[in-house]
Amino acid sequence: MHNHSFARKFLFYLLAVALVACTAVILFFLRDTLDKTLVALLYLLPVGLITNLWGLGPGIISALSAFLSFNYLFIKPFYTFAVHQPTDLVILMVFLIVAMVISQLVGRAQLGMATAKDRERDATQLYELSTILVGLHNNLLISQVLAEYIQTTFQGEYLELEISITDPQMTILPHGATVPKRPPELKLPIQAARGVLGEIRIWRQTPAISSTEKRLLQTFTSQGALVVEREQLAQMESRSKVLEESDKLKSAILSSVSHELRTPLATIKASISSLRSGEVNWNSNAREELIALIDDESDHLDLVVGNLLDMSRLESGALYPKREWNILSEIVIGVLARMQRLTGEHVIDLDIPDDLPLLPVDYIQMVQVFTNLLSNSIKYSPPNSVICIEARVRDETCMLVRISNQGPHVPEEDLERIFDKFYRITAADRVTGIGLGLSICKGIIETHGGKIWAENQPGSFVFNFTLPLDLDGSLPPQMPTEIEPE
């Protein structure tokens, strides 16, 4: 790029003429000792030098002035531009041609080099810009980086970069500057294959924006457009991935749920129809058995539907705990009383000290946590084995509850995944349930601010969970004291 001002250029011409004049003066003093062909050769030195230093224009001027001064000072008759001898004329002509050719050649090479340097700089900048932009993943950062880059390169007075698609952004540089009261000197659309994504506006009066700069800017802009568009596509892709995942989940739910709902329904239908058909003796044990089965299976259906509802409530954030000060043992005992029929084949060992502090939990949700953990423990551990429920204050911030059973160990790599939705280690048809119970527990414990995890212990499998002891920072309230009767 030629940013030299006019004055600078003029100075170079002047210097070129001056340098030739200097050479002429020095050579003039040596006129008697030097042959004129040698003088002609020596004259070529400044011409080459000048062209090399200051370019083609000054080079040509120096060649011309060298030619004139050579003729004037060194070709007889001296001090005229007239030439008498034909050989002198030949020398002069050859000199002029050689000087011109040298200055042309050197000048062109210079110009080519300058252009190459400019191009190289452009390419480097573009490379830098695209390297930075590749790592960016949102429109805000992209627009900021692009704007700053353009601003450092073009040194404009004011710059606006606007991205007007999905996540609109507007970057203004330099920060805090006010918009000039005139239309921008340059407006460039950020154009991508799928349409205009935004616009860049630059205010720069002096020096005016050259066509080379404009071209470079266009390259920058299209680079920016590419990145914004790529980002847009990436977002679309991740959205469609999420949709695909949820679609998969939905079909998993559907198949699991229809299986889970149909099984008890099938049992109920079979029992009822055999009762209605009169095939079963009215007073037989079979009748009692069938009726009990119907009762059990409808309870089971209720549980499945309840778990599904809870899961969707948890997911939508609607299952917000109503935390109140509760006595943990009261909750556990209530659960055990209601699960009596299910726990019948197991020995329940309850180890909850009487002096535990009040615990800020949602009563109903904790009932659910214990119900699900217990029914899971019952399901996977052999009959007549012991299920132990213990609670301790772990430290001043939280209570630790452990429910252990003598069921089989879970592979270490699955310990976390058993709390995932619809995840079951055993084959779906061997154990009933849709794999929601534990993920509901996890959801509830986490909305309470606690943590839940499972671990294998020698001879047992343990569910652990913690619950914070404070309710939004406050500790269990003190009871108003009352005088005990004698």
Partner: protein
């Protein structure tokens, strides 16, 4: 009260209406049904039922609202029906004057037990007050403020006694936390469920044979407590 008590069932599910009509008629109740809140209110006003069974999820108006409107003029017991996990609605209905609740799906024995309790309670309200309540080994004399267990007097603090007396005089019915707290501690303490938890534990220790498996002072998860006495 006529020989066959009159039950009004307000529910928008035809299947539930059909089932309840069949079962309750079989049990020699006179049954009328309404399919929405407006119809229910009208039928309650014209039929003067002895008991109202009210579903909380009605198409035209909020069941809690129906409950409140009924309570403006009738003392007939109201048993609310609702689906699982709508404890807040249940509590609201109970606080608005409903006497008891049942969670769908429910067993018919449960429903009949609640109906019996409700009928007895409204009979008690009309008849003379019973001052001596017996529950297993417990004897509670509400006029002399004496509580005996296996014939021996149990010493209770003032709050403990007030709590017990309130539950006992509403025996068989569920009482919400708020209603118990307001009644025993005063409306300023209506949110301090922790008082209730702690005092209930103390009462159980003094009165229940196995405080871990209470027979008389029963917890209604998320709602409140119920005293279960002898029939």
């Amino acid at each position: 009260m006529s020989l066959n008590p009159h039950i009004l069932v307000i529910d928008d599910e035809p299947q539930i209406l059909r089932a309840l009509r069949t079962i309750l008629t079989e049990k020699e109740f006179k049954v009328t049904t309404a399919r929405n809140g407006e119809e229910g209110l009208t039928m309650a006003a014209t039929g003067l039922p002895d008991i109202i069974i009210l579903d909380l999820g009605l198409p035209d108006m909020d069941g809690v609202e129906v409950c409140a409107r009924l309570r403006e003029w009738t003392d007939s017991p109201i048993i609310v029906l609702s689906v699982r996990d709508s404890e807040r609605d249940k509590v609201a209905a109970l606080d608005k004057g409903a006497d008891d609740y049942l969670t769908k799906p429910f067993g018919i024995e449960e429903l009949l037990a609640r109906v019996r309790v409700a009928l007895r309670h409204s009979a008690r309200k009309q008849g003379s007050k019973v001052n001596l309540v017996v529950a297993g080994e417990l004897q509670i004399d509400l006029s002399w403020h004496i509580v005996k267990r296996n014939g021996e007097e149990v010493k209770l603090s003032a709050h403990e006694y007030n709590l017990l007396a309130y539950l006992v005089s509403n025996r068989g019915r569920v009482l919400t936390h708020r209603s118990i707290l307001t009644h025993v501690w005063g409306s300023a303490d209506a949110d301090h469920t922790e008082y209730l938890r702690v005092y209930m534990r103390q009462l159980r220790k003094k009165l229940e044979e196995d405080p871990e498996r209470p027979k008389y002072l029963v917890t209604e998860p998320g709602l409140g407590y119920r005293f279960v006495g002898d029939e």
